[in-house]
Symmetry: C2
């Protein structure tokens, strides 16, 4: 396993981590500036942040600073109640591929969606199997376009507590079944984003990481699981503050040949988003060295 | 599948569901009285409620009213940081078996425990594999005693969001692996409690219910998953108010020959525990008919 203790060469910052500074929304150009100041060499930005600043400006800043993108967040949300909704999702996902390509991202991360309407509080139906079929179909369709754009798609299995409203792909095994189905040749066009927050609990995690292999391990995200967790979405912990044995999972991933960035993605409404963003970044750097 | 729409013959009330009435703790004798008044024929009481009222009184009430126990809540919590802690857990679990036997419960439900200390907010370690080994050892040891007492043990796989602090057995597959390991003959002494809240998201659920078969399906618990869920422990929904396709899961379970009670177990601090308990029970009866 690579030694992270001496530098932060392989640290990437998912820009949601400092989406806010002292509770105030922080524009992406300032996030980039704070990363560059600290010799952070990679980021993974969110589409809404890019849109707010304008894709041309972000593209220019990324090139100017020689930043890499460990991923682009995010495509997905493939489910809908009718053909129009499915088509709209597909169109939007093609635009996400285009943006990811413009920014030269390593992959487009897919949060695949779940029961239509559930995120807004009222699910249109309870047929999880149907949602899963729509997701597989949606990925299949997008994959053709993504291949032509040479943009790998990384399915992110989300924690089962998001199965209703955010993603109905909830384990590595399930994600890899989709990969085997749609890309049996392991071409590198389709794989997974392994976020320790979502998969740490899985008794089959090591086996499924081995199954994925280097070709399908497209991204590695870190944060920590706090006890107690007071909010299901926005109470993620800084690496080292929770119960996830992160170095062990990184060891498994790197044993397969993964040699990319370790991307810090922390949603923390009550804690880190209330801190000054520079201090949060400094803590990320420190914990990247000591706890990842 | 059995028709529940005409009566509530197969409704059981897990007594946590009306642990409070209008926010005030409700003693178990009053819970029993409210169930009996409504011709509810089965309950599943919690140990702390039994202890507060006294086992002899509860045993007498149960016999007097001809109540059945669809289960007894709960044994488990097998993990510890030292031999003394493991022994204390074992001793306590033997007492739970004794109590379950005195009350003639169908099974002792096991919430197996996870990282020691995590429930109190500070995990003693992050070694989930070790916790899982301790759990398997603890069940193996208890199984001998439970066999001699003729009390089936029902492992309850808990939702992965409880993997850190409550139970490190988080899928049906994992629970059944333990069953196969410790009771390969499927004697009926060891099985699972299927709670839809914990397992509804699992893409392998149907297959694992089929794998379990009648011999290992010892209990069936219902409630619902709300969107949004505002508390990870105490925001469970009434059947029909959430996204779980409960009748489908019941169909799978009954297809294996399960013919026991459908046990309503709702932890709801902000909603149902604030209602008058009789109204909550009436709603349980109604939803048992219409949504289970």
């Amino acid at each position: 396993m690579r030694d992270f203790s001496q530098d932060h060469r392989w640290l990437s910052i998912n820009t949601a981590t400092i989406r806010k500074s002292k509770g105030v929304e922080l524009p992406l150009p300032q996030i980039i500036e704070a990363c560059v100041e600290r010799d952070i060499r990679a980021i993974s930005p969110w589409r809404d942040q890019v849109a707010a600043a304008g894709l041309p400006l972000i593209s220019r800043l990324v090139k100017q600073h020689g930043l890499e993108l460990s991923g682009y967040c995010r495509g997905g949300m493939f489910t809908a109640t009718d053909a129009g909704g499915l088509q709209a999702a597909h169109d939007d996902n093609r635009r996400a591929v285009d943006e990811a390509r413009e920014l030269n991202a390593k992959c487009l991360v897919l949060v695949v969606g779940a029961l239509p309407g559930a995120l807004a509080g009222k699910a249109a139906h309870k047929n999880l199997a149907l949602a899963r079929d729509q997701v597989t179909d949606g990925i299949a369709q997008l994959l053709e376009y993504a291949r032509s754009a040479e943009m790998p798609l990384a399915i992110e299995p989300l924690h089962p507590m998001y199965a209703a409203d955010r993603a109905c792909i909830n384990t590595m095994e399930q994600a890899l079944d989709v990969c085997d189905d749609l890309d049996p040749g392991k071409t590198g066009a389709l794989g997974v984003a392994v976020d320790v927050y979502h998969v740490w609990w899985d008794p089959k995690l090591q086996a499924q990481i081995e199954r994925a292999g280097k070709e399908r391990l497209l991204a590695f995200h870190v944060c920590d699981w706090l006890t107690p967790t007071t909010d299901m979405l926005n109470d993620r912990g800084m690496m080292g503050d929770g119960v996830i044995y992160i170095p062990q999972i990184r060891r498994w991933v790197e044993a397969q040949g993964f040699a990319g960035y370790s991307e810090v993605e922390i949603f923390s409404a009550a804690n880190w988003w209330q801190q000054e963003h520079g201090e949060t970044l400094d803590t990320c750097i420190q914990r990247h060295r000591s706890a990842v």
